[in-house]
């Protein structure tokens, strides 16, 4: 551990999942019993901060009573030529990861919700000052994020100072969120692609835009920007957005080009804001899937943890199977939960006005982002467990899709035919036995014929057509 030779305990990713139980803890910082606590990253100008400086305001770890809980504020101030405020969130979230690398040091949650415990064993080994914690953070920030040229870290345990800083931190978070949510795809000239999942799904590429999170829900446009600038050759890369080819569907020249290149031509065209024709593809770890329900001309959405069958009788596992492996399948759309909070969520298909069913748990999570006039018109598993019940529910609530039922009948029919094909596979196939005598326009008369077959393989007609 030469990088951390002067730290009294080990530092490594292997400690990441470490939990410290109450009985084993020296002190608790933040956590559920402390009302005011925070961690905050701010980008400063180079002359505002001193590189490598660790400031402790209030009592240090060794001055805290064993077994006690204390408030804590962490302020990471960074400077660098290419840094801007948009990266503050990314920098801030690294605090969690880095702190957890410290042996016997547990960090949970983020922002105003942090919960830290230091284990007795590590304290006894000498980890008794924020100075050490600061050094670890400093070195990891500098070695992992070369775009940070200077970084200064402050730990605050003084209740008065925390009281003063806490509302400031809350304002920062709020402003950051508002800005992030307000950022529009049209306003940026770069998107980010991610091919991390190609290690398991070789023909899938995710495109991350300000208004479309990665399917796994783990990478925002800001994260993408940070990753791509830190490691330009890495699996998260910059995509020049290019010309807007279709603003409604969400088609961009640069995206088509990048996707074509990264999928070796498997996918040539991507429409972000629709589940039809050229939907964004999926690997397998999407958080939820939107699926078209032809009977009502609307979308159902189901998430991974939903147990049971959805309104069309199929469980998540079956629906998810319809969109995976980097394929574009009409009417199926793998996505993150966060995407449902975006204004562009299936916007080309009608957005929330086209969503007819989703699990209660998901509805609760994204409720604030569903337009107020539609939220009660969307059924959950409590309102409808089959298509008939769904139809009745939508009719009763006068969901916007009801208006489409007469207007757009052909679309529903077409999709209906597709569903039927699936069913066709189940039809008993004994009638196929007459096939052999249909050949070539001749009249074939078989008299007293005996036909023996060791094996007859019966395939549905659909297979033949396909192959």
């Amino acid at each position: 551990m030469s990088m951390f030779k002067d730290i009294p305990v080990d530092v490594g990713v292997i400690y990441e999942g470490e939990r410290i139980r109450r009985n084993d803890m020296q002190v608790e910082l933040g956590g559920p019993t402390m009302k005011e606590k925070f961690e905050l990253a701010k980008v400063r100008t180079p002359d505002e901060i001193e590189d490598g400086k660790v400031i402790i305001i209030g009592p240090d770890i060794k001055d805290l009573k064993e077994g006690g809980a204390y408030p804590l504020g962490i302020l990471v101030e960074a400077a660098g030529k290419t840094l801007d405020q948009g990266l503050e969130g990314v920098i801030e979230r690294r605090i969690h990861g880095y702190m957890n690398y410290i042996e016997g040091f547990m960090h949970l949650n983020q922002r105003y919700d942090i919960w830290i415990r230091l284990g007795k064993k590590s304290f006894q080994k000498g980890l008794n000052s924020f100075e050490y914690i600061g050094k670890v953070l400093y070195r990891l920030f500098k070695s992992e994020l070369p775009i940070i040229e200077k970084v200064q870290i402050t730990f605050i345990t003084d209740p008065a100072k925390i009281k003063e800083m806490y509302p400031v931190a809350l304002q920062e978070y709020e402003a950051r969120d508002a800005k992030a949510r307000g950022l529009k795809d049209e306003e940026v000239d770069k998107f980010y692609g991610c091919v991390l999942c190609q290690s398991f799904a070789p023909s899938h590429v995710c495109v991350i835009t300000p208004q479309r999170y990665s399917n796994c829900g783990a990478i925002s446009w800001f994260d993408g920007r940070a990753s791509a600038s830190i490691d330009p050759k890495g699996p998260v890369f910059e995509i020049e957005r290019g010309e807007v080819l279709n603003a409604e569907k969400g088609e961009f020249a640069g995206v088509n080009e990048a996707v074509k290149k990264r999928t070796l031509g498997e996918v040539n065209q991507v429409w972000f804001y629709t589940a039809f024709d050229h939907p964004h593809t999926s690997c397998g770890c999407f958080e939820a899937v939107a699926f078209y329900i032809p009977e009502v001309d609307g979308f159902g959405v189901v998430n991974r943890s939903f147990k049971g069958t959805t309104v069309n009788g199929l469980p998540f596992s079956t629906l998810a199977d319809s969109t995976a492996g980097g394929r574009q399948i009409d009417g199926f759309h793998g996505m993150s939960i966060e995407y449902m909070r975006s204004k562009k969520f299936l916007s080309a298909d009608g957005g929330w006005n086209r969503v007819v069913w989703l699990p209660k748990e998901v509805k609760e999570r994204v409720k604030d982002f569903i337009p107020a006039d539609i939220v009660d018109k969307i059924a959950t598993e409590e309102n409808a467990q089959n298509i008939d019940a769904l139809k009745a529910f939508l009719k009763e609530k006068n969901h916007p899709v009801v208006a489409r039922w007469t207007a757009e009948a052909p679309a529903a029919e077409e999709a209906g035919a597709e569903a039927k094909e699936e069913e066709g596979a189940m039809v008993p196939v004994a009638t196929a036995a007459t096939l052999p005598i249909m050949a070539g326009g001749f009249k074939i008369i078989l008299k007293d014929a005996k036909i023996y077959a060791k094996k007859v393989i019966v395939r549905s007609m659909k297979d033949e057509k396909k192959s």
Binding site: L196, S199, F200, A324, R327, I437
Partner: protein, 782 residues
């Protein structure tokens, strides 16, 4: 769904195309091929169909032979001396002979699981009908039989469909075994390839057995919260009549449990199990108890706990009858494969058999009707328990001290002990009144009883060890999670992102028997180490029991401490031996779920995917049986590395990669067609390790795969380096082989690793889309 022997007669039929008169149609088999997934290239492979794939692996991981015996004694030309390159009368050399034994072992293993499956399926069809639907996980599982789909191209929907799958397996095992006849196969690599084939078939046989029983007997269905089961001798209420079931096939136990419930005796008697039957009993009835692994047979019987001993099949001590007789416990043999010389009483009235067993007129019987087994076992236990009063044959401490004085210190016991336990010293101390050294042996003893066979003065050494360790024995009260069965599709989806991002560094399957070098604690320690490091730890069989037999500082067993889901830091017990198939099944499903690769009859492509992408390692720390050999073979052919403990060296060979030969580690980059050197990832396919520490370092290293993202690789390397430093006290010196770009280097170890890279002249390379199959190179579409 298939139908057999269909006949059709048409007197006269006019159609627009023709006239048919007296048409008689006879079809041997109608296959309903309504499954829309296209058939892959190798449905129902013969013994040579996948030879090319096997050879790819066998050239990468060349067999390294460690013959246990230099002679071949199989035919009457012999014995033939095969030392120093000599060939036998048939022409085989020692390499071919060793691999031939591997093939024989794998075939025996595959036959055993498949015959178990055959019995299970036939029995369940008789009871529930051919159309009884298969259900292994309800809505959470779409791919019900991944191994079967992959190997045979069949998608089984009901019990009847399994019949056809088994017919295929039976044919293949016959071919495999026939190749071992004198004067058949001559090349060691071809013997190996056929052993791989036996392994593939074995996985199918196991899967059939388990999905049949899970479906028809309503076992936990892919349930991460399968109930916690009481385990250990201390959990058995000895005031009640105790029925002890040994073996693997749950059918007779089901008869016992059903009869016990019908006669309202549940709660009034104990049904306990040893070895895999114990698991399947608990999957059927969660108040059944697990005594422990196979090696607990002697201690439980001699301790007098069992009032009736019921034997089904596999891994049963074949002298258990003599042992049971000593403690006056009647024995019921319940499997055709294991008649034990008893009189067949299947057709006799139950009460007659009961009377004979209770009175001692008969000490053992063969009953081949599981329901009758149930009735007889329950009635006998109830009637004989008050008579036997848990009669035992363990000596008193005073007796041990007296008998130990007769020990001649000849050392034969220690020499015959597979674990080299220091028995003579312990007996010497006992003779002087100090039983502590004898007590210490209790933990490490695997209960084989060879010490007693070797003793020239016939000391009952094993009984002394058990008596000296009695306190521990009685205090054995642990929990084991009941076998959950398959892994849900949804669970696999959930771990997709954390595996890609390295948050889950790998999957460790700790499976197999209990021939441990130093007791089961090693298994517990290894499982706990990797679960704490957020690997997914999968257990099965006797290893799953040992994993649950120890507690942490808070008094919690592994199954209480860690969640039972297929998730970071999860410890999941899939179940008995045949449930091992779900581990391979989970790996196979990954390819289907994330890459949407077709499974149907598509073995080579999926094995290539798993081998190059899925960081999974098998550990059979105490593997002893031929079944363990065939299970391992099934993993080898999927390209999944397997480690065995020291006794595994007696499987006669390892499959070792050569890290020093860069040319062995080239894969194609499917994106470009370029050959890329990906380093020894994974380094070996089958390796014997001597100590748990060595095992831990190897496990971490063998989870490395060519497709690792830099994040994944850096975390895998962190664990490898950390374990290496901990257990060898230094940095590993082969790191340059596993670093592709600087981003792979663990962030907290940059300085140290960079030094090694510089010293070794490391050069940056690319992360490919790895495959060993040229046909998988993708063509650019325009």
């Amino acid at each position: 769904m298939t139908s057999k022997n269909v006949h059709m007669k048409i007197g006269e039929m006019k159609t627009s195309t023709g006239l048919v008169k007296n048409l008689e149609l006879s079809i041997g088999k109608i296959v309903d091929d309504s499954w829309t997934e296209p058939m892959g290239p190798t449905p129902m492979p013969s013994i040579s169909t996948l030879r090319d794939w096997d050879m790819k692996l066998l050239n990468k991981y060349k067999p390294f032979y460690m013959p246990d015996c230099d002679l071949c004694c199989l035919c009457t030309f012999g014995k033939c001396d095969l030392t120093a390159g000599k060939r036998g009368a048939c022409g085989l050399d020692i390499a071919a002979q060793s691999s031939r034994i591997v093939l024989i072992a794998a075939s025996i293993g595959a036959a055993t699981h498949t015959a178990h499956a055959r019995h299970m399926v036939d029995h369940l069809i008789e009871k529930y009908g051919r159309n009884f639907p298969l259900d292994v996980g309800g809505l959470n599982i779409k791919v019900e039989a991944p191994v079967t789909r992959l190997v045979t191209g069949i998608r089984p929907e009901n019990l009847g469909d399994l019949d056809e799958v088994l017919e295929y397996c039976e044919t293949q095992i016959t071919h495999c075994l026939s190749a071992a006849h004198t004067g058949q196969e001559g090349s060691n690599l071809d013997f190996e390839s056929k052993a791989f084939h036996a392994g593939r078939i074995d996985q199918v046989g196991m899967e059939v057995a388990d999905i049949a029983q899970v479906s028809a007997l309503d076992f936990p269905k892919a349930d991460p919260e399968a109930p916690l089961i009481e385990m250990g001798i201390g959990t058995v209420d000895t005031s009640k009549p105790v029925i002890m079931c040994i073996g693997h096939n749950v059918v007779p136990s089901v008869g016992i449990i059903d009869y016990m419930k019908e006669s309202k005796l549940d709660g009034k008697m104990e049904v306990v199990g040893l070895c895999c039957t114990a698991f399947d009993n608990t999957r059927y009835y969660d108040r059944a108890k697990i005594v422990g692994p196979i090696s607990w047979q002697l201690r439980f019987v001699r301790g007098g706990f069992a009032d009736v001993v019921v034997l089904d099949e596999q891994c049963i001590r074949t002298d258990i009858f003599n042992e049971a007789e000593r403690v006056r416990a009647p024995v019921i043999a319940a499997s055709e494969k294991n008649c034990m010389g008893f009189k067949n009483r299947t057709n006799d009235p139950a009460d007659e058999i009961v009377a004979d067993l209770v009175s001692g007129k008969a000490t053992g019987v063969l009953i081949l009707d599981p329901e009758k087994v149930g009735e007889v076992a329950v009635k006998v236990a109830k009637q004989i328990a008050p008579i036997r009063k848990k009669y035992r044959v363990l000596p008193t401490i005073e007796e041990i001290i007296a008998l130990a004085k007769t020990c001649r210190q000849c050392n034969l016991c220690q020499r015959s002990c597979p674990q080299d336990l220091q028995i003579p010293a312990a007996l010497k101390a006992a003779a002087e009144g100090n039983l502590a050294p004898l007590t210490d042996l209790y933990e490490s003893c695997i209960g084989c009883g060879r010490c007693e066979e070797a003793c020239p003065v016939k000391l009952q050494i094993h009984s002394y060890i058990v008596k000296a360790g009695e306190k521990f024995m009685i205090e054995e009260t642990n929990f084991c999670r009941s076998g959950r069965g398959a892994v849900q599709d949804v669970e696999i989806r959930n771990v997709g992102s954390p595996i890609v991002l390295g948050e889950i560094p790998g999957i460790l399957a700790v499976v197999g028997c209990s021939n441990y070098p130093k007791g089961g604690k090693d298994v517990y320690d290894i499982c706990r180490e990797f679960a704490s490091r957020r690997y997914i730890v999968v257990t099965s069989g006797c290893s799953a029991m040992s994993a649950g037999s120890y507690k942490n500082s808070e008094g919690k067993t592994l199954y209480e401490e860690f969640p039972g889901g297929f998730e970071a830091g999860g410890v999941l017990n899939v179940g008995s031996c045949v449930a091992n198939s779900h581990i391979a099944g989970a790996a196979i499903k990954v390819a289907n779920i994330f890459a949407k690769r077709n499974l149907r009859g598509n073995y080579e492509e999926i094995a290539d995917y798993i081998h190059n992408r899925l960081g999974a390692v098998g550990l059979a720390w105490g593997a002893y049986s031929q079944k363990a050999a065939s299970i391992a073979a099934g993993f080898w052919s999927l390209g999944v590395p397997v480690l065995v403990g020291p006794h595994g060296s007696k499987y006669r060979r390892m499959l070792l990669g050569r890290a020093d030969k860069p040319e062995n580690w080239e894969v194609y980059d499917a994106r470009t067609g370029d050959k890329v050197n990906v380093g020894p990832a994974p380094e070996h396919l089958f390796q014997t390790v001597e100590t748990p520490q060595e095992a831990m370092v190897q496990i971490a290293k063998l989870c490395i795969r060519p497709n690792d993202t830099w994040k994944g690789r850096s975390i895998k390397l962190s664990h490898y380096i950390d374990l290496h430093k901990r257990h060898y006290g230094c940095m590993p010196q082969d790191l340059h082989l596993f670093v592709r770009t600087m981003a792979d280097v663990p962030m907290t170890m940059k300085d140290e690793v960079t030094k090694i890279l510089e010293a070794k002249g490391w050069k940056e390379t690319v992360i490919p889309d790895p495959t060993l199959l040229p046909r998988m190179i993708r063509k650019k579409k325009e």
